[in-house]
Structure formats: C-alpha cells, structure tokens
Symmetry: D2
Subunit: 323 residues, 4 copies
C-alpha cells in the first residue's frame, strides 16, 4: 500500500489574491493549465476541487484526470466563494438562500460520487458572525444541524467531512474547533458525516493538532486531513513544517498511531513565492514527516508517552530527527 498518499488543491496555481491586492500576486491559469502544473509535482498523486466554482460538470474534469493520472480525491462544496453567501449558507437568515445552499450541496454529492471522490469536503466558512449581538445563536445552530442533516441524508453512501475553522472569512465561525465539531457530529449522529482536521486551523484554534487527531479518531470520525502551517494566529496556509516543527511531527505521529490510511491534502497559499516550488517543497516535507513519525514510533517512545515522561521522549526525538 502507498503510504505517501499526497494531494492538493490548486491554490498554488491561482492568483492568491487578498483584500489589499484583489488582482492577486500572479496571473490566473485555466483548469487545464492547473492540472498540468500539478502533474509536474513529483510525488503529488491527487487533487481536490471546488464545485461548482472550479468546475461545473464531471466532464470538465475527467479528461484532465485521465491525461495527468491524478486522482480526484475530494470535492469541496462551494459554500464560500460567492457574494450570495454573505450572511451564511445553511444558516442564512433568508430561506431562499438556505434552500439554494442545500440544493447545491446535494448536487455536489452527486458529482463527487460520479467522479469517484473519496469524500466531500463541507466547510461552512461563511456561517458565523462578525460582531457581538449579530446572531441568534440558538436559531442558527439549529438551522446548521438541519441543513447538514438534509444534505447528508440525500446520499448516505457519500462521506462528508466537515472542516472546522476559528475564523475567516467571518470574524467568528460557528464550527470553530475540534470540540465544537465533535459535538456537532454527536448531534447529527450520521454515519456518513465526519470531520476534517486542517493542521493550521487546529493550531490557530489553540489546540494541539495531534490531540485533535486522537479526539476525532476515537470517535470514529476522522475523515479528512489537510496540512499546512502558521503562527497559531491566523490561517496563513504556509508550507507545512515551516514554523511549527514538533507539533507538526506529533500530528503525523498520531495519525500513524490512529491508523490513518487516507490522504494528506496540502492546503497552502503561496502568495508571493513560486506555487510549483512551494508545493514540491510541501510534498517533500510531507514524505519526510511520514517517515520520521514512523522512525520515532518505538516501544520505548510509546512508553515515555504513557508515563508522560517528556524528558525521555524529547531526548529520543532529538536523537532521531537531527544530524
């Protein structure tokens, strides 16, 4: 079995705009060009795309998958990149908008199934609030549970991974951390709905990402994994391992311990540096981290963790990692 199942979205081949430079830091590419760029990355085996904002029909994607040999790993429901979601999707105060979000999501499940995706990514990033006293929390949480429930019931055979994030684009998002997500999953109680841990979102939520892996895994709910990095302050989507070395390794370590067989999806935004080089560096580091997590996973090391003996664990780590 391939232990290096590494995928990515196409942000590294996109303009990577921000609010101060809305034209972005590089020219846009066509979907075809993006596929070709991705195919040049050594060790990258799969892609994830947003429906319907990156593509509208399977037939747009299938030939490109065939040409490049890339796997269609996950489909992200387009719940964020449109003005109409400004006040939320499943929790929009306007019932027409809510209906639109739900119907689009159902279609997304169909498309994902047709493309043979492993799962669907559901990130309700527009569902939240910016100000105190801007939300009737009880009402909107109920709508969120109902909306996801209706979508998930549409295709019980399609796995849905809900991604949590503290903020951005809203100043506060409802599904803000692993604990809130777990509690939501308990409430939903649906076999085909689980969680996605984005390493950087976990850091920015003040969590230990390895602990988050364990919490979702022991509930049988870890469905998808994203990797990247930041300074625990914001979702900067830096190349994995650039800032946070130890907790990143610990994240890979607990994925291994929890028997993770899925993909490692790079989710980086290389605004100012070459997208292809940044992605290649991300792939190379991911392979190294998978290997290093394996190398440190000895019986003695497991014993140190069981005894909470951080001195012993630390010594072993430094010896194993460094020249």
């Amino acid at each position: 079995m391939d232990k290096y199942k590494i995928a990515s979205g196409f942000a590294p081949f996109s303009p990577c705009a921000d609010r101060f430079n809305v034209a972005g830091y590089r020219d846009p590419l066509s979907l075809d060009e993006q596929f070709s760029a991705a195919a040049r990355i050594q060790g990258l085996e799969g892609v994830g795309l947003d429906y319907p904002y990156q593509f509208a029909k399977p037939s747009e994607v299938q030939p490109l998958l065939g040409k490049t040999g890339l796997r269609f790993v996950t489909l992200e429901i387009g719940l964020y990149p449109d003005r109409k979601w400004r006040n939320g999707t499943y929790t929009a105060p306007d019932p027409g908008i809510r209906r639109e979000a739900i119907e689009m999501s159902k279609r997304a499940l169909e498309v994902a199934a047709e493309l043979g995706a492993e799962d669907v990514l559901l990130w309700p990033g527009q569902d939240g609030f910016d100000y105190p006293f801007q939300s009737d929390y009880g009402r909107f949480w109920k709508l969120l549970v109902e909306g996801i429930g209706e979508v998930a019931a549409h295709r019980p055979d399609v796995r849905i991974a809900i991604e949590y994030k503290r903020q951005e684009p809203r100043a506060h998002c409802y599904v803000r951390n692993a604990g809130v997500l777990l509690s939501l999953l308990h409430e939903l109680g649906l076999d085909n709905v689980g969680g996605c841990i984005d390493l950087g979102h976990s850091l920015a939520a003040g969590e230990n990402p390895g602990e988050a892996v364990v919490l979702l895994s022991r509930a049988g709910k870890l469905f998808q994994v994203h990797i990247n990095d930041n300074y625990r302050d914001w979702d900067h989507d830096l190349i994995v391992g650039s800032v946070t070395f130890w907790e990143t390794l610990e994240f890979f370590y607990w994925l291994r311990r929890c028997g993770w067989q899925g993909w490692y999806i790079l989710d980086i935004f290389p605004y100012r540096i070459d997208g292809g080089q940044a992605l290649q560096e991300g792939v190379d580091r991911t392979r190294f981290l998978i290997d290093l997590a394996e190398r440190v996973d000895t019986e003695a090391f497991r014993g140190s963790l069981e005894r909470a003996d951080v001195i012993a664990a630390g010594r072993e780590l430094w010896q194993k990692a460094f020249k």
Copy 2:
C-alpha cells in the same frame, strides 16, 4: 424569585499569590474572617468553597453559614492545589494517584450533599500537558472519561458541573473549551453531569461566551456560571465588565434568553487592589448587567438578531445602555 443570585469564592480575601511573589499580595485570613468579610458585601448571597483545601468537614462551615446567612452554593473538588496532582488527577500516570483523586471526589460529593450545595464544581485543571509529545492522548482521555464517570455514578443525586479552561496551571488542559466539554458530556451521557461556563475562560478560549451559553443550554447541560474578565489572552480574573463590555452583556443576555435561574458566581483575583471593594464592584456591575440584559430584550431586538441585522441591534444597544 430573586433574580440577583450572586455568589463568590474567597479569592478576594486570600493572599492572591503568583509565581513571582509566592507570599502573596496580602496577609491570609482565617475561614471565619473570610466569611465575615464576604458578609459585608452588599448583595452577595452565596459562597463556593474548595474541599478539602479550604475546609475538611461540614461542621467547619455550617456555623459560619449560620452566622452570616450566606448560602453554600457550590463545592469545588480540590483537584488542583496540591503537589501530588502535578501530573494530573483522574489522568495521572500513577494509578495510586488516580485512585486518590477519585476517592477524594466521591467524598466531596457526600460533603456537598450534606451542606445542601446546588452542585459540585469539577475543574480538572491539572489534567493536561505542557509540552508536545508529553501525552498519550488516547490513554489519558479514556482515563478522564472513566474517572469522571465513576465519581458521578457514586451519587447520581448530586449535580456535577465540569469547568473548562484552555490552560493554567498546565500549558494545555484537556478540557479546553466549550466544544470539547460538550463532546465529553455526550460521551459520558450522565444526567447529573453538566458544564460550567466561566466567562473569562470562554473569552480566553477564543469563543463568544454568549454562544457558549446557547450551546450548552440547548443540550440541557448548563449547570454553573462564573463571571470575571480578561483580555482574551489569559485567565486574569479581573472584575467583570472591566475590559469586555459587549460580549459580557451578550453573555448575560443569552443566559436570560436560555432561562437561566441559577447563580452568578464571581470568580475574581484582585491581586493588588482591595478585595472587598473589588468584590463589591463586581456585585454591583452584575446587578446592572442583569438589568440591562432585561432592558434590551425587546421583540424588536430579538428580530434584529434573527435577521442578523447588526446595525439595528447596535443602535438599540447604544441607546439603551448609554446616557
């Protein structure tokens, strides 16, 4: 019915030491003196005390309650103020320490029942980790669930409120935020176990405290409420309302909307200012905030929240609050 049920612990009448000044910023008082000091606070009607570190037998407390007329609102299990808990209580790697923590907790439930407390506060502040790679998360979470479960089963008639906190005294605590707590409560599935929201802990966890109130309330799990303030960075235990005015008011507002009938327990650490004056100020502001939350709770205001109309809500708030 009394809508101003306000209580406090005795930190304002304690030395309020810190790691740099372990002798504290004022002289210690006897328990008798602390009760007398508390009785002088206008509008303070109840107390919460730590067992067995502030008192060991009900008979030490009962005469002081009688003398002062203060209510014994909650008993806090002494899971933090002892060197023996350095590596955790229910999650200590040493099984002898775990047993000791569980047995002490059971006795605490007995004592609370004997004193007629509303509930017991269970804050597992020593249960966590300081370093990456210091914890076998799966093992220790399992122990945490089992330990609390055994304690709670000992007296199903005694309500237990679990308090969450991001950190301190550990750099990371397992029960770090409202979401993780809710997920833990789902897993426990025990009627007599619920949650405590400490306003400051919620702010420091990056939450909106009013939303946390709603999340626990809609699960039927809001058992206890603590109030204080900070800069969202650390549990400074400042006087309520000193820094965070709007979200504090919103917290009171959602308590009202969720039908909160319980106590408002002030949990402040006035290191450098007069403890009695600080507590009196806290009580006075709490009464004001309860009243203001009532005053803004109009039909029109509820409508603004349902529509997420923050401009309308904001205008009403400023008109209602300010001279």
Copy 3:
C-alpha cells in the same frame, strides 16, 4: 473650533473582497459615486484616498471635493495594492522595485501638497516576511530607513505619518507596533515624519491603545489617528466601539489629554453590511465617544489615574457612561 473632525476612506463603498471571494461582497462604484455616497453621511467631513490606485491626478479629485464640500484630509501612498510590491517596496530585494516605490512616494508628496492634504499616510504593509529564515533583517531594516528618509527629504514641508501593523498582507510586517515605530522615528530623526495609530492595529498588536497615544504624543510624533475595532486577533476593521468599549473610550480620553486637534479617520471594512449605514454608525459613535471622554475628564478622575486607583476610576466611569 470643530471638535468632531471625522473622516473616512472609501472602503465602505468598495466591494470589500477577501481571498475567498475575490469579486467582493458588493458591486464597485465610480469615484464620483463614492464621493456622493460619502457626502450623504451626516457628520462626515473629510476623506482620505490612495494615490495612484484610487486616483492618479489632483484634477480627478478636486471637482468632487468642490461638489461635495468634503475635505481632502490625507493621501495614502499606494504601497500595497499591486502585485509588483509582492516582496516589499522600500525593502524589495530588487533595486528597480525599490526605486519605483521611492519615486512614486515622492510624487505622492507632491500630489498631497497640491491637494492641500493635512499629511501623507505611509503604510509599508508589504514590507515584512511570511516565513522564518525569509529575511536578512539587518539589510532590509537599513533599506527601510534609507527609503523613508529619501522620500521624506524630498518635501520637508509635507508631513508623513507612518502606520504600524503587526501583520497582513504579510504574516509579519517590519513596522509591527508602536514601540518599533517610535524607535524607527528616533532613528530617522526627521521633523516631518511621525506616526499614525490605527486603533485596531494597536489592539491587534497587544497594546493598550491609550498608552500608545501617550507614547507617541510625549515624543511629539502623533500625526494621524484611525479608528475601528476587532477582537485583538486580526485587523477585522469593524465599526468602532463594537467589541472593545473601554479601551476605545480610553483611547479617546488620552487623545483629549494629549491635546489631539486632528482628524478621527474611520477605517472600517463593512464586508457584509450596508457600507453607508455602517459608516454613519461609526460617525455617530465617534461623536458620542468624543463627548463621553470629555465628560469623564474631571479633576477627581485624573487623580484616580495618578494614584492608579482603578476602583474609584471604574465607579466614575460606570456612573458617567450608563443610564
């Protein structure tokens, strides 16, 4: 003399895009339409515009100023909204880019003088770094000092206000907080160069904004003031006073105490709410805050601050502010 000198940029009348919705949350307006929208805000008396990205020649702006009666308060040098600044402006590794930034800045000073602006805003937001080991700090700080020095020397009669910000668009900006800015101003030693305090940037830098006002004022270096709000975590550019009430009032209080005679420039990004209503609310609150700061500024209150008597100060504040 007018004590309510309130101005704004045109972000409230712009699409307010973000990286996930690059088309923005509303349609763009022409400059003419933006001026008209601003003129409808009661109590708004001045504008600040970016050169050369919002306008390229004074003649584009002068008729609109004439038509609306708005004052041209400040000109912001366009050091951020262009792909070419991706690696910095005065600190770009490419000397051609550095030269371009410096020459554009000199022209900006000319234009500002021609338009009768109070000052020029210089925000080096692209000058910083995203990763550890991405910057030769010594080299780039030297270039930053030299670049600003050359620009400022070009027109000693034009005042330049340097704005600090912790991050965004870079993950780390060089001029990150009030202290670093003050130190830079010491090093520059130029009479026509001072600082701009953006209230939200100060909060997000972990400062007390009132203290920042005092630090710059006692050095004679407070040249410009921006107002808005956030959760101390990021530059959300919320309507002033929405989250942070007390420190916002304290900011206005210390501006008063330091003899501030300048403008209050609203710098808000109302992504999802009506721009005009948001700006009107901002203007109304600003007037209220100016008045309230005056009302609390009694001899007794000054005495409380001199004695660090926060209980007395707090009581006076709550009595003065609230109904």
Copy 4:
C-alpha cells in the same frame, strides 16, 4: 574562546509555585544545595541570582562560586518578588516606594560590581497595569525613565540590561516588547544601559526573535540573552526548542551573525519535571543549536536571505538539520 557560554538561574532547583499551588511542586533547597545541583549540570558554566531575595551579601555567594567553579554572570535586581512592589517600583504612585526601589537598585549595582558580574538585569515586571483606566501613562512613563536614569547614573561602569515582557505579573507591563524597549533606550541615551532579549518573551510579544536580535544589535544595545520556549501565548518558560524549533534556530543564527560573544542564560521553570534533567536537556540543546546555526551559515544561505528566497533557504535548512 569558549563559544558555549551557558548559564542559568536557580528556578529549576526551586519549588516552582504557581497561584493555584503556592507551596510549589517540589521542596525548597538552600542556596548551597542549589549551587551543588547546578554544578552537576554538564556544560553549565555560570549563574544569575536575584539580589536581595536570593542572597543579601556577596560573602554568601563567593564561597559557593569558589567551591563549584561557576561564574557569577548576572545579578537580577529584585524588583518583583515582594508585596511592596504591588503597584510598581520606579513607577509606584507612592514616592517612598519609588525611592526604596531606586536605592535597592543602586545597592544591586554595587553588589554586582563586587561579584564581578558581566552586567545587571533590570526587569520592571511589576511596573504596568491590570485594567483599562488604571494608569496615568504619561506620568508613569516619565517616572520609569527618571528612575532607571538615576540608577544607571549611579555606576556608569556597570552595564544594565533591561528585560522586556508583555505581561505577568501585571496584565500589561510598560516595557512590553523590543520596540518599546528600544525607544526607551533611545530616550535614556546612556551607554551603560541596554536590553535583554528573552526568547520566550519575544515569542509571546508576537515578534520574530531573530529580528529582535538584529534590531537591538544594530543599535548597539543587545546586552543579555535568555533562552526558553512557549506557545507564543504566555511565558511558560519551557525547555528551549521544545515547541518553537525554527525561530529558535533563527534566533541563534542571528546572534551569530550579529557577533554575539555573551552568555546564553537558560530561564526555564520546570514545574512538574525534574529540574536537573530539564536543565541538562536545555544545556545540551543549546550547544546543538549553537552548532547548527554555525553549520547553516554558508555564503549560499546568506544569499538566500538577501534575496528573500525562502524556498532555497528552507531546502538548505532541512538538509542541514535532519538525518
């Protein structure tokens, strides 16, 4: 010349109390016992002690230095561990307290000179505020400058290193970050007064510690260096390198580039783990980091930093560091 000049205070051999466990996590040792414990650490060559709280007369320390061969590296002025400093030292509202702080500081300079210390550490941790509207910033900053100025003028031959810290024990400290410190040093304008960078304080202040090294060094003001680690959220005083690997290495790298010849002073608080083992681990990692910083400092690497080429720099780092 010895390139591994590594020292420490005696916190690892102290009870390491906190506000919840004021008795601390281990028994206290006598000064003699602490010296002996320090002498057992391989590679530890110097100590720093607090005057007058750890010792009152040189004669208490000199025999222990002689016996152990440890160097007396720095003397910390006891400006924090006493109830009398509750409202500040040089900035205390009470002039008697201010005088006491100043006179004690002068004596500290004498004692440091007598003991042959490299310098004196001045950390005004009690000088700050906990609440908004608790401080007359202008007045207290003036007192701070005057107080330090008087102390420094007493012995121009003794070097004083001022240590900055964002918070703790105060919720806000005046000298909160490297920028504010630099600005203070400019204002003081005294040759014998410089700065101390504590790696963890820099991280918790939201800085890049390597950049802080460069900022102080280019002003000729880097006098002292402390090393430890945290999660950027609080001064946890963890073992160096435990959380923050890359910026820690970058800190050592820029110390090397700036020609640092001084001591590396470990400032860790091993609350729950063996103090000697923790310190030994800290010393071993410090030696490794000094070596690794040397190993990566090639011409090619310098070129990558000059070009801000973070891909090239990153590749070289991972190749040089890891097995």
